[in-house]
Amino acid sequence: MAEIRVEALKKNFGEFTAVKDSNFTVADGEFFVMLGPSGCGKTTTLRMIAGLELPTSGRIFLGGEDVTFNRASHRDIAFVFQLFALYPHMNVRKNMGFPLVCQGMPRAEIRQRVEETARLLRIDHILDKPVSGLAGGDRQRVALGRAIVRRPMAFMMDEPLGTLDSEFRDLMVRELRELHNSIGATTVYVTHDQLEAMAMADKIAVMNHGVIEQFGHPQEIYDRPATMFVADFIGSPPMNFLTVAGGLAPGARDVGLKEARIEVPELREAAPAETLMLGLRPEHIRLDDAGPLRGEVFGTEYLGTTQIVTLNVDDTQLKARLAADVRLREGETVGLSLDTARLSLFDAASGRALASARDDAVHAPRTGTGG
């Protein structure tokens, strides 16, 4: 069990910069998820922590020890690969015992440890089967078993649920989190799936183009996205943006739309830029005939418990999450009000979120961003 600290980590592949100056700390026993679209540098960061890639510059500490240039085999880390990397020429038992054989552990002890781990993962009945015939979920469990059997300092997982079908994935998300709760090992988990990240993580780092856009608790990332990228990437459907007039002073309490003024949480910094973006989540929009906004219904998507209604407001399309029993006709004009206490403002040019009264209550470190 150990803390993982990454300082000014950078990785270039020739001309291409995969990771730009990353800094973050994963506390001992934390489940840390790196989330981002493909090619954002999350897997490269993970592989550098594991020792499968060497960084161009920067340092990596594992349990306080500088391991930046240690071989992978000298880091005491276990890695679960996306395609599981189960050795096809060995059965389940041999696969799981493989890391222990390397340590020169006596056979009887390996047997005992493997069986113990298999019981924990409920795969003790398939120990003597070849891995090639296993179902996706069982392969996943064997891969996990091979990782935890060694009791390493930390786990690295590279999209381990990516190849499972959605039914298994939900199950494995729960199992993984339960497993983490019971063994409490520091875990770094890479995924592009926000639902996985939200469901499992203690902390999330959202990455884009090699930069950590935001580092924080799942709620923090969802409620107060630090950048427009994060706001757009997290949430389904993503956050809506309305263009509003800028040139605001600290203390401003409302912003101007074309025909209305919208209350916002009190601004804590000046916003000299000409245009700002008002960010609102689909669930922050309510039907309200007395509301300040007017929108024309463009279409609806029925989801069972809720429906997603697309509305044309001020030449912009907004997606609102409304109760499923509301009947709306296409082309109908409706009045809208917003959950003003939960709105965010972004600088349209830089994409950065502006500090507001909503940030007053925050004590957790807000970003781990660099670069």
């Binding site: 992978a72 085999s73 880390i77 340590q103 091979r146």
Partner: protein, 316 residues
């Protein structure tokens, strides 16, 4: 589109299958008939083997095989009378032709040379090829593409084009007519094939397997031996068969560079002379026996070979 007949889009129809089957049978006949003729010739008597019209039905005889393994000399009837009765069936066979066995022929020796040189060079080609293929596939080798092209380019000219330089080189360094010389030569020719074939196989093995082993504490070499090599078995088997077939059948260099101690079977077999010309039954017998090792080797590795040559065609 017809509404009355439902047929699969991917499975071939009856007529296609019939035509395909017919083509395979014709091809098999064309390639098998010479082999069958050689096999039959091995069991003919010398007069039967050269009779015209050719005999398809004949009384089988082991004379070809006896002649293949022995040298014989013709004796006068008086001398034959004076000999004690023959001890074995093959002595009896030889005496019925008014000859006695003078000693063993060189076929056994030549056959053994073929085994040593063929399998030796196959082993070396596959061994070197495996290591090179792994390095080219996994490491950042400077100028890797150029090196691979260079390796392949050694096969772009007919090998016999360099026969004279090699002949002179071998004579100078004393490799002429040695087992080592022939092994080096065949390895040099085969290694390009083996590097290219095996690189394809290594490329197909996900790096994650080794990375998993590296993280579990194994060294690169251990990871290679324990994780990569077992999964390359198919590729290695297929490559070994191709290398062996080349080294086993090679004729031109063997004829040119070997004459005595290291002569392989291919240049030896056609030179088997009987009374009044080539001893066709003995040659047929020699070719039949010579085919056996490659046949057995191929049958043993057949399963791998089939998977090997279609490897990579379909991604899982």
């Amino acid at each position: 589109m017809s509404t009355t007949t439902a047929h699969s889009v991917v499975a071939p129809g009856r007529r296609t299958r019939f035509v395909a089957g017919l083509l395979v049978v014709i091809y098999a006949l064309v390639t098998m008939v010479p082999l069958a003729w050689i096999f039959l010739t091995g069991f003919k008597t010398p007069p039967d083997s050269i009779s015209y019209p050719p005999k398809v039905v004949f009384e089988p005889s082991l004379e070809g095989y006896v002649n293949l393994f022995t040298t014989r000399s013709r004796q006068t009837p008086e001398y034959m009378e004076s000999l004690p009765p023959p001890q074995t069936w093959y002595e009896e066979l030889v005496r019925s032709r008014h000859m006695v066995i003078a000693g063993p022929s060189k076929f056994g020796e030549r056959f053994l040379n073929s085994v040593i040189i063929g399998f030796g060079s196959t082993f070396l080609s596959v061994f070197l090829g495996t290591l090179a293929a792994y390095a080219f596939s996994r490491f950042k080798v400077p100028l890797a593409d150029d090196l691979l092209f260079f390796i392949l380019s050694t096969r772009m000219m007919p090998p016999i084009a360099v026969a004279i330089p090699i002949f002179l080189m071998y004579r100078t360094v004393g490799l002429s007519d040695t087992h080592l010389g022939m092994i080096i030569l065949y390895t040099a020719v085969n290694v390009s094939l083996s590097v290219w074939l095996l690189k394809g196989f290594v490329d197909e093995i996900p790096r994650e397997y080794e990375e998993a082993a590296l993280i579990d504490g194994y060294t690169r070499l251990q990871a290679f031996v324990k994780v990569v090599l077992p999964q390359m078995a198919t590729g290695i088997a297929a490559t070994a068969i191709f290398c062996l077939i080349f080294a086993w059948n090679e004729y031109a260099f063997a004829l040119l560079l070997t004459s005595g101690t290291a002569q392989t079977a291919p240049p030896f077999i056609p030179t088997i002379i009987g009374e009044g010309g080539l001893d066709w039954p003995a040659i047929g017998a020699g070719v039949t026996l010579f085919l056996l090792p490659v046949l057995v080797f191929t049958i043993l590795l057949r399963k791998h070979l089939l998977r090997g040559i279609t490897f990579g065609a379909v991604r899982k």
